[in-house]
Structure formats: structure tokens, C-alpha cells
């Protein structure tokens, strides 16, 4: 009886540990399609849309392509350093390349890259994952999210499309089709 209880207790202790494990991407897309030429970029975006998880490496490559239409870095360390140098990623960021990118990490990067200032807390303390996610939700760039969630590939592609819509509404970009404001939602270009 005592033995059985010990086993159950051990299993009970082990379960939360497995739940906290972040998703890993075994074969990052950046290993095969990390080029900056138009054909490679299109291949990257549309193959990424078919994948189950977006890794940190893929997300940062995509973010650089979206911001600059080119990715000068050749590896993950170079991408992270480029983003840190530009103040897009916090200096303390140290997550591995193959780990699924969290919505909080990407929200901070997007807020910094798109110069979204946010509310009082963000203006005073800077962009944190929690408040950056809330700000992007308010701007209708993010869906209802937790900072700890990750993205499927198609969700990341969709998110980049929404970020472009935000720039169009703000007047920074031009587009062919009018970005959609959902009925009753606060779509705004001001932050």
C-alpha cells in the first residue's frame, strides 16, 4: 500500500514537470530556406504556414524579413544579436533556437519594432511579455492569448499579416485591399 502511494506521488510530481516543457522544433525551416531572395522568402512563409510550431529561430528570421525584407544574419546567434542591437529583443533574452517561440517574447519584439508605446505601465516600465501581449490584443494584432503560449506556423504568418495591417491603418504602408476592422472592435492606428 505504501509502495503504491509512493509511486502515485512520484507520478503526480512528474506530471507538472512534463506540462511545463516547451515545444521543440526538430528541423527548423531556417536550415533549408533562410535565404533573403524573393523565392526563398516566399518558400519560407508558405512552408512555415504548414508547420505545427514556430521556433525562436524561424520567428526571428520571419520578423527580420518582415521588417527589412532581408535577413543579414546567417545563424540564430546572429539574428538574436541583430535584434538585440536594434533594441527589439531585450538584452537578457537567452532562449534556444529550436524552442517554440512564446507569444510574450514575440509581443515584446513587435511592440519595440513597430514602436507601439502602449499604456501607462508599458510607458513607465517598458514592454514586458504580459503587457505587450495585452497591448497587441487591444490593437487586434493578437488574438486572446497567454504570454506563455506558442504559435503554430499558420498563426505566425497570420500574425505578421495583421502587423502589416496595423502599419497600413497607421499610414506607414500602402496596400491593395482595405484592412478589415471587425464590427465593434477597436482597430486603431494610434497607440
Amino acid at each position: 500500500m505504501k509502495y503504491a502511494l509512493t509511486v502515485i506521488a512520484l507520478i503526480g510530481l512528474a506530471l507538472p514537470l512534463t506540462g511545463c516543457n516547451r515545444a521543440q522544433v526538430a528541423n527548423p525551416l531556417t536550415a533549408t530556406t533562410a535565404g533573403s531572395d524573393p523565392a526563398s522568402q516566399l518558400e519560407f512563409w508558405h512552408v512555415l504556414a504548414t508547420r505545427n510550431v514556430t521556433s525562436n529561430d524561424e520567428a526571428f528570421h520571419g520578423l527580420l524579413l518582415f521588417l527589412d525584407e532581408t535577413d543579414p544574419a546567417t545563424d540564430y546567434a546572429g539574428r538574436v544579436q541583430t535584434l538585440k542591437d536594434r533594441g527589439i529583443l531585450p538584452a537578457s533574452f537567452d532562449r534556444p533556437a529550436d524552442e517554440g517561440v512564446t507569444r510574450g517574447t514575440l509581443a515584446v519584439a513587435l511592440c519595440n519594432a513597430l514602436q507601439i508605446k502602449g499604456g501607462v505601465v508599458m510607458r513607465v516600465f517598458g514592454a514586458s511579455p504580459r503587457y505587450a501581449v495585452r497591448e497587441l490584443r487591444y490593437l487586434n494584432i493578437y488574438p486572446p492569448s497567454s504570454p506563455h503560449q506558442t504559435f503554430r506556423g499558420n498563426e505566425f504568418v497570420y500574425l505578421i499579416g495583421r502587423a502589416e495591417d496595423y502599419l497600413r491603418i497607421r499610414g506607414d504602408e500602402a496596400g491593395e485591399v482595405e484592412p478589415h476592422a471587425e464590427p465593434g472592435e477597436k482597430i486603431t492606428g494610434a497607440s
Binding site: P38, A39, Q41, L42, E43, W45, H46, A49, L65, F66, E69, P143, P144, S145, Q149, F151, R152, N154, E155, V157, Y158, I160, G161, R162, E164, E173, G175, E176, V177, E178, H180, E182, P183
Partner: protein
């Protein structure tokens, strides 16, 4: 008698064989390209960068990158724009023997604008997304499929014919509030098709469409019924997607 019967059967067979030939394939061309756009003639063909003036026809597929879009024209007067980060394929583009133009487009994700320039030709156009089949008759409509909102459309001046996944026509004023906690049940309720529709008065029809389960509500202004969703914004959420 027997010879006449065989002759009739033969004529009928010829008519059946000849009927597909009366549908004429339509072609078109790429009108403009902005940013990074690739195109291919079929699912097995390699992707190539899209060029203005290139021919398109049934089977042609497009994909766009960020800050990119492609505009293509299908005979005689249909103009389709695929906006940023989207994929679209022309499944069918034919002119039927009756003169009607039939176009079938599929869009796994992205956003498009479909416009008919000029009139005089009857169109039957559908845009398929993973969540819905959107039937269009009219002059202009935008459709998009996102991963949290599902498929949505916004008509500019089109006569909009919503259909469900099985291509069955739905009531015109089907509308689902996606933020409602019971959006699923409301959607089901709204998709109810009243088979006795032609025998009802307008007021009865409104009651059935808005409350097909019989739980009608009366408002304070004595209008007889209160539609659950006003339908004047001409915005048509077709289905709810899964939350990301």
C-alpha cells in the same frame, strides 16, 4: 419501333457527350504585381515569380509575401486581387452554353477582393475557404480567412449568397456573434433552413429566420418581433475559426 428506340438512345448519348464541350474555358492575365508574388500553372509545376501580362487559367495558383499583392483578370470582366501573405487557386473558370460565366476560386488563407467590372453577363462565382464556400453574384466583395476569426466577407455592392461547408445555401441574414459564449448554438440556429419559406408572409419569414426554434421575442416598439442581429452593416462572418 426497335430501330427508332436505338436511334433515340444514340441521339441522347451524343447529346450527353457533347454537353461538356459547350462549356468554354476562360483565360485571363496578371494585371499587376506588387512585391513578392509567385505563380504556378498546376500543383505539380514549380513556383515562378509572377510577371505582369502572364496568362492565367483554371489550375493557376498564386502565393504572395508580406507587403505584396497580385491583381489578375479573368475573362470577360472579373478582377481578383490577392493581398499579402495569401494563397489562391483558380479551380474553374468557364463560360457555359447559356452564356453564364462560372468561376470557382479557392483560398486556403489570406485576403482577396473580387470585382466584376461592367455588367451584361450573368456570373456564378464561388470562393472556397477552409471554413466556408462563399457564393458571389454582384459587383464587388472582399473575403478573408484568418486563423482566429475563420472566414469572413465584406460586400461592397455584391448580392451575397452564403453557403455552408456542404455548399448548401444559407439564409441571407445569417449572422453569428463570435464573441457570444453560445456562438456555436446561435450559428446552428441561424443556419436552419425553413422549407416552407415561400408560403409565409414577410413578417413570419423574419420570425422564422431569426428564431427558428419558436422562441420569438417582442420588442417595445410593437414591431412584432425583434431580430437577434441587426443586419445593416453588410458584414458577413461566415464561421468561427478556432482560437489560436
Amino acid at each position: 419501333m426497335e430501330r427508332r428506340f436505338y436511334f433515340f438512345v444514340m441521339l441522347l448519348s451524343l447529346a450527353v457527350l457533347a454537353s461538356p464541350l459547350t462549356a468554354q474555358d476562360l483565360t485571363g492575365e496578371i494585371v499587376s504585381v506588387r512585391g513578392m508574388v509567385q505563380v504556378r500553372g498546376s500543383v505539380d509545376a514549380p513556383w515562378q515569380m509572377a510577371q505582369k501580362g502572364a496568362a492565367v487559367n483554371a489550375g493557376t495558383e498564386f502565393r504572395t509575401g508580406p507587403r505584396s499583392s497580385v491583381v489578375f483578370r479573368i475573362e470577360p470582366n472579373q478582377v481578383v486581387t490577392l493581398d499579402r501573405l495569401g494563397v489562391m487557386k483558380i479551380d474553374q473558370a468557364v463560360r457555359l452554353a447559356s452564356g453564364q460565366v462560372k468561376t470557382d476560386l479557392s483560398m486556403p488563407y489570406g485576403r482577396n477582393n473580387y470585382k466584376i467590372e461592367g455588367g451584361g453577363v450573368e456570373h456564378e462565382s464561388t470562393i472556397r475557404t477552409p471554413a466556408a464556400v462563399l457564393g458571389v453574384r454582384g459587383s464587388e466583395m472582399s473575403t478573408w480567412h484568418d486563423f482566429d476569426t475563420g472566414s469572413r466577407s465584406k460586400e461592397h455592392s455584391a448580392d451575397f449568397k452564403p453557403r455552408n461547408k456542404n455548399n448548401v445555401k444559407l439564409p441571407q441574414d445569417m449572422q453569428v456573434d463570435e464573441k457570444s459564449p453560445d456562438a456555436g448554438s446561435v450559428s446552428k440556429e441561424k443556419e436552419t433552413v425553413d422549407t416552407d419559406n415561400n408560403q409565409r408572409t414577410d413578417e413570419e419569414r423574419g420570425l422564422i429566420v431569426n428564431r427558428p426554434n419558436g422562441n420569438f421575442q417582442t420588442d417595445q416598439n410593437n414591431k412584432g418581433y425583434r431580430p437577434q442581429d441587426d443586419h445593416h452593416d453588410r458584414d458577413h462572418p461566415i464561421s468561427s475559426g478556432s482560437n489560436m
